[in-house]
Amino acid sequence: MPKQHHIGDLESPEGLRFHRRQWSFERIGWIALGLFVLLALAGLFGMGPASHARAASADGRLRVEYERFARRQAPSELVLYFSPQAVRDGRLRFWISRDYLDEVGVQQIVPQPSSTDLGGEKIYFDFNIDPGSEYRAVTFELQPEQTSRLQANVGLDGGSEVRYWQFIYP
């Protein structure tokens, strides 16, 4: 090797140590980015197998599908499925906890309930339903406004309830 020439202090031992650290940092960073993207694919940040969740009431009359991980100001869906036993006299009546509804930003309910009533901690939804109807599902289109962990309670009027949590990313 020829005699060492330095351009300023570019070749200081400290500089080389820095570069070596920088290179290991980069490689660790690549792995971290890779893991992050894999987690995103898995649905840890919503819209994937890790995020799509179901829950059912103890008596099996109510089943919900929801996104465990949703994002702030991004659309999300809550679908409620009812068993035939949930229908009484051609009517379907269920409630959702007010705390949850306040936070979760309901944009639209499909189909529209025939009436709602604001009873204290619970908000009740009523639907008229043809007793012979095969289709007993209600979709809530949501768009949460705030980053938080939400606790949801959903129940049939006079039936058992479903509880689940939902995390809203920023």
Binding site: L10, H19, P170
Partner: protein
């Protein structure tokens, strides 16, 4: 308030991601790098403005970003360590005509890149005309040629490109 937090958040996320990518990643500005840059800026813009397209929000956002940038530059000026951490350091790739291949591999630069920079900056044709090549902090490669007539008289130590 949200806007300020989101702007600061995005600033540091971008800083981190680009430190991970290495300072050479978007410096080559090929056509595709340019497109990528546009997509990245578009994505981060949506992340920080969210749904608020108001004038006020834009002013808050711009002020926050510029403020963070100024504060960091003040910190960099006071602390050399901070400057190194945020901006990286120049790295010698060709030392006295000798190509430091291990370093080239580490920073994902090859001899073609060095020659390209040499042609562009100095009108140099061959690797043995290069005395020093340095990967600068901004990701560009700078070249110092041998003085006088290149290679022939002084460049006995230089390695051939092929």
């Amino acid at each position: 308030m949200d806007t300020v937090l989101r702007a600061v958040g995005i600033y540091f996320v971008l800083l981190l991601v680009f430190r991970i990518a290495g300072n050479r990643s978007l410096a080559q500005i090929t056509m595709f790098d340019f497109v990528l840059l546009l997509i990245i800026s578009e994505s981060s813009q949506q992340g920080i403005t969210a749904n608020d397209y108001s004038f006020t929000n834009a002013v808050v956002l711009i002020s926050t970003l510029v403020l963070v940038d100024v504060l960091l530059s003040l910190w960099k000026q006071r602390s050399e360590k901070m400057e190194r951490l945020l901006d990286g350091m120049p790295l010698i790739l060709v030392r006295h005509g000798e190509v430091l291949q291990v370093r080239l591999d580490k920073v994902r630069v090859d001899q073609k890149d060095i020659l390209e920079a040499a042609r562009e900056l100095q009108g140099i044709e061959r690797l043995d005309q290069i005395k020093y090549a340095v990967l600068e902090r901004g990701g560009e490669i700078t070249i110092i040629p041998w003085e006088g007539s290149p290679a022939a008289d002084e460049g006995a130590t230089a390695k051939k490109a092929s």
